[in-house]
């Protein structure tokens, strides 16, 4: 049935592509008549104090943007809390400090299919193939916006942009222009502090950010789940008006708790990065070094302590070529070198990854934009992967935009998938423990996605969007069922199977007054599971989000958001190495923030509540019940 749907989609796409030549035959329309009457017309005020409006642009991909204003209004202490409101994203709170994020039904513990970039730097943790959100050395106040692409983007970003890309973009020194101090604390021994300062003098700009974050368990407020200190520093300089060189470095250090398989494990972690960018005309170069050092008590007592030490060196070069007014061509290359040492894998490993890519955007007439791109990645174990992508954007009028895209993406096996080597001791009453071993001969996971989107954007205060998608992925990598190898029970990573999925996302933004904003979205997804051991794991079919933001001239502002997530079914590992299907109930969670600016524009006092009504619920069967985290705080700008 679903394969039939996919075929219909493909046929439809092919038909539309065949129509393109006829569309492009039209001549470009003349520019509109421009008389003085246009500048006599009254213009609505766009920028005022306390305005809630955001700039909304028509983007070719299914993209959502979380602005700095929304980040501030949310009162969120971590990035996953912000992402919960994005349509099509699955955000799972495993514990008070540990969340997992993925797109369109592909979420899991130690989620590994989403690429997370911070200012273009991949934070992908090659050890297990995902991101450790607690280990990102940035504070919330330094984020300018978060762009979320919830569709495969390997054609531009390579491996790991399997289900989408989250690009966290920080504020430039000029955007900060001064300092901001924030302190927030409350229930569960929560204490968050941050200090951001930045400025630009002539051709040189700098930014410094420092912060601490402490969050204890929901169930036991005395149990420390996250206690970290972090900092980062950025410096840029322009040369001869043509070149810009920037350098930055950051570090986070402390205790973080993560549920890695059966229970929460506390890591002592130090994660750092150093990055350099050089922009010279249409050429951009980037080099960075990510380093992580994590130690913990044994995952499976009484085994050995766990230590993980990894280094990633990454070089990227990109050249953008404008081939006339309506034609843009980008090509580039990347080189990535990884080293891993860990007690969880068999031996030290090194890895060289190289890739080349291009993207061509052609706008034959103003109403149509055609994009084609492809990337070739070489991995030492799986060989070469080819990821093509094509899309068409058609905007027949300024207020209507149609998007159609087809893309293929992949995820290479992680070091854990290929080389894990550890033992799970036999639980009481069970005669055998389990030996977990990696499989170097795995194929990449692959996904092909078809998307159709429509945006109706008649005025700047109303926007409506629908995105319909269907995808098929194959060669899903996970631990297979345990098997006896001699007298030893062995569990190894395998390419388990495939899945097809379809669904849609509806989004509406409304700004009825400059001081009031509403946003709502609904996501539906149906996944046909042929990829887990019991083929029973199932993501939530229905999700809905609502948020409102009110800002009054009196200095009061309030935000309220509610999220509904439908029932899910997980295949949970057991101590014996088996999997057991367990359901989690549907749940609704509300967050709220109330802020007051007492006359002096530099000071703000606020109270914020995560899970306002304390709806105790499990979002992952082996996680902890999500509780309320009420906090109060102040922020001072200078």
């Amino acid at each position: 049935m679903r394969v039939t749907i996919l075929k219909k989609w493909m046929t439809g796409f092919a038909s539309v592509m065949l129509m393109i030549p006829f569309i492009t035959l039209r001549a470009a329309p003349p520019e509109p008549e421009f008389t003085e009457e246009l500048i006599f017309q009254p213009i609505e005020t766009v920028i005022t104090a306390g305005r809630t409006e955001q700039s909304i642009e028509r983007a070719p991909a299914t993209i959502a943007v979380i602005s700095s204003e929304e980040i501030k209004a949310s009162g969120a202490l971590s990035i996953p809390e912000l992402l919960r409101q994005v349509p099509g994203l699955d955000v799972m709170t495993v514990s008070s400090s540990h969340s997992e994020v993925n797109a369109r039904g592909l979420n899991q513990l130690l989620s590994n299919k989403l690429l997370v970039l911070v200012d273009g730097r991949s934070t992908y943790f090659d050890f297990f193939g995902g991101v450790i959100w607690q280990a990102l050395p940035i504070v919330m106040d330094q984020i300018d916006r978060i762009e979320v692409v919830r569709s495969p983007s390997s054609a531009l970003y390579g491996a790991n942009a399997f289900s989408g890309v989250i690009n966290i973009i920080t504020k430039t020194p000029r955007q900060i222009q001064g300092g901001r101090l924030k302190v927030q604390g409350g229930e569960n021994s929560t204490l968050y502090s941050s200090f951001v300062q930045g400025n630009r003098k002539g051709d040189t700009g700098y930014r410094v950010a420092l912060g601490t974050r402490r969050m204890n368990s929901f169930s036991d407020p005395d149990t420390k789940f996250e206690d970290v200190a972090l900092g980062n520093f950025y410096l840029d300089h322009r040369f001869d008006n043509e070149a810009k060189l920037s350098m930055e470095a950051g570090l986070i250090r402390g205790t973080i708790a993560q549920n890695v398989r059966l229970e929460d494990v506390k890591f002592e972690a130090t994660t750092s990065y150093t990055k350099m960018n050089l922009d010279y005309g249409s050429v951009t170069l980037q080099a960075f070094w990510n380093r992580g050092d994590e130690t913990s008590d044994p995952f499976f007592p009484p085994g050995d302590d766990v230590d993980i030490l990894y280094n990633t060196f990454d070089l990227e070069a990109q050249h953008k070529v404008d081939l006339g007014l309506t034609h843009t061509f980008i090509y580039g290359t990347t080189y990535r070198f990884n080293t891993i040492e860990s007690s969880l894998i068999d031996t030290e490993h090194k890895q060289n990854l190289i890739a080349g890519y291009f993207q061509d955007e052609y706008r034959p007439v103003p109403e149509v934009s055609l994009l084609a791109g492809a990337r070739v990645d070489r991995h030492p174990l799986v060989g070469v992967n080819f990821s093509p992508r094509g899309s068409m954007v058609y905007a027949p009028t300024p207020s209507h935009t149609f998007r159609l895209s087809v893309g293929r993406a992949f995820r290479n096996p992680s070091f854990t998938d290929s080389y894990i080597h550890t033992s799970i001791p036999a639980p009481p009453g069970v005669p055998f423990g389990v030996q977990m071993v990696g499989e170097p001969d795995l194929d990449s996971e692959k996904i092909t996605t078809y998307e159709l989107g429509f945006t109706y954007f008649p005025r700047h205060f109303f926007r409506w969007e629908i995105d319909v998608f269907a995808y098929k992925f194959s060669d899903y990598i996970a631990l297979g069922p345990p098997e006896f190898a001699g007298s030893q029970l062995v569990q190894s990573y395998v390419n388990l199977g495939s899945a097809t999925a379809y669904g849609f996302e509806l989004t509406a933004d409304l700004i009825p007054a400059p001081w009031l904003k509403f946003s709502a979205n609904y996501s539906f997804q149906d996944l046909d599971n042929k990829y887990t051991v019991h083929e029973q794991q199932s993501p939530p079919k229905n999700k809905a989000n609502f948020k409102s933001f009110l800002s009054l001239p009196s200095g009061l502002s309030a935000s309220f958001s509610a999220s509904f997530v439908g029932k899910t079914r997980w295949e949970i590992p057991t101590p014996e190495g088996e999997y057991m299907p367990i359901d989690t109930d549907s749940h609704t969670r509300c967050d709220a923030r109330l802020a007051y600016n007492p006359g002096k524009k530099n000071l703000e006092l606020f109270v914020a509540a995560f899970n306002l009504f304390n709806s105790r619920h499990l979002e992952y069967p082996l996680g902890e019940k999500v509780g309320r985290r009420a906090t109060a705080g102040m922020s001072l700008s200078f």
Partner: protein, 326 residues
């Protein structure tokens, strides 16, 4: 003999008296028939009214005997041809048109009567090209590129890189701007836009590179309200000051904008009217740019962006205070 001479002189005197009176009477008759000017203003907008009031007042004070008839341009039921037939029937020495609508129509319909246009933003070259006679004077609303950039540099003396997005019809503006900025040691980072859909991406491309965005009048940039909103918000969020054109866009949220003084446009137009009347017959052309340009500063936006506008510039500028609401 003496009597005869006396009589002779009396007769001659009477003759010269009559002749002199006749001359005076003739001269008096010329003075009693003042020049007649018809002012045809385009409808609706207050800016047209303001300019028209200023023209009438300036002409009235410098030449009280001038007859000025004000008519609102209506191309409605009777059509343009009939409208101009009525206007020209009364035999005006000169027609003043206010606004593009009346100017465009007059140039296409009126022959052999000088036209002085005013409050026309753009396209007067095309108007002239389409005109059968070149007897056209006028004051446009177009503020010269050099003047806009000069004011911008005075208000933001530290800028070194200026961003500029322009449509294909503004290639000449780009050329002028490029020449001026290179002379001033400013780098102009400009992107030509094929369609308004390219604006978000183009703006994102340059916004991190520039110290300010120059936004002269351009159909591609100003026409679509959503695009204007996008540019204003995006620049504000990235702390990039915009220098735009028109007081209204400064009220909407650009920190700086230049605009004309419509009263002065009226005075300038009145001077052109007198100049043309004094010239007498024979076609000629004189198109002028506004001589007085005002700088508007949105107080809240500029202070939010931390702009340090020199006191000398701020003293001459007009501050707009728009803090809350639409």
């Amino acid at each position: 003999m003496f009597f005869c001479l006396k009589k002779y002189f009396e007769i001659c005197g009477n003759y010269f008296l009559i002749l002199g009176m006749g001359i005076l009477a003739t001269a008096g008759t010329v003075r009693a028939k003042p020049a007649r000017v018809v002012l045809v203003k385009s409808p609706v907008w207050e800016e047209y009214e303001q300019t028209s009031r200023s023209i009438v007042s300036s002409l009235g004070s410098s030449q009280p005997e001038l007859s000025i008839e004000e008519i609102v341009f209506e191309a409605g039921s009777d059509g343009e041809k009939e409208f101009w037939q009525k206007v020209t029937e009364s035999g005006p020495e000169l027609i003043v048109t206010v606004g593009t609508a009346s100017t465009h129509s007059a140039i296409n319909s009126v022959k052999n009567i000088p036209i002085v246009f005013t409050t026309v933003l753009d396209g007067f070259e095309a108007l002239l090209a389409g005109s059968s006679s070149a007897d056209i004077y006028g004051v446009t609303l177009a503020i010269p590129v050099e003047e806009q950039l000069k004011i911008m540099k005075e208000a933001l003396p530290d800028i070194r890189r200026v961003g500029y997005l322009y449509g294909r019809n503004s290639a000449d503006v780009y050329q002028s701007a490029r020449e001026y900025t290179s002379r001033q040691g400013i780098r102009l980072i400009a992107i030509e836009i094929a369609s308004e859909r390219d604006i978000p991406q183009a703006l994102r491309e340059i916004i991190g590179e520039v110290d300010a965005l120059w936004m002269p009048l351009d159909a591609m940039i100003y026409y679509n309200q959503n695009i204007r909103h996008f540019i204003l918000l995006e620049c504000f969020q990235n702390s990039v000051p915009i220098m735009a054109v028109s007081k209204k866009i400064a009220m909407a949220g650009t920190p700086l904008a230049v605009d004309v003084d419509y009263e002065d446009i009226g005075r300038q137009t009145a001077e052109l009217v007198l100049k043309r009347l004094a010239k007498g017959t024979g076609p000629s052309t004189d198109i002028q740019h506004p001589r007085k340009v005002l700088l508007y500063i949105n107080d809240w936006v500029s202070s939010s962006l931390g702009l340090n506008i020199p006191g000398k510039v701020a003293e001459q500028a007009i501050f707009i205070s728009v803090k809350d609401g639409r």
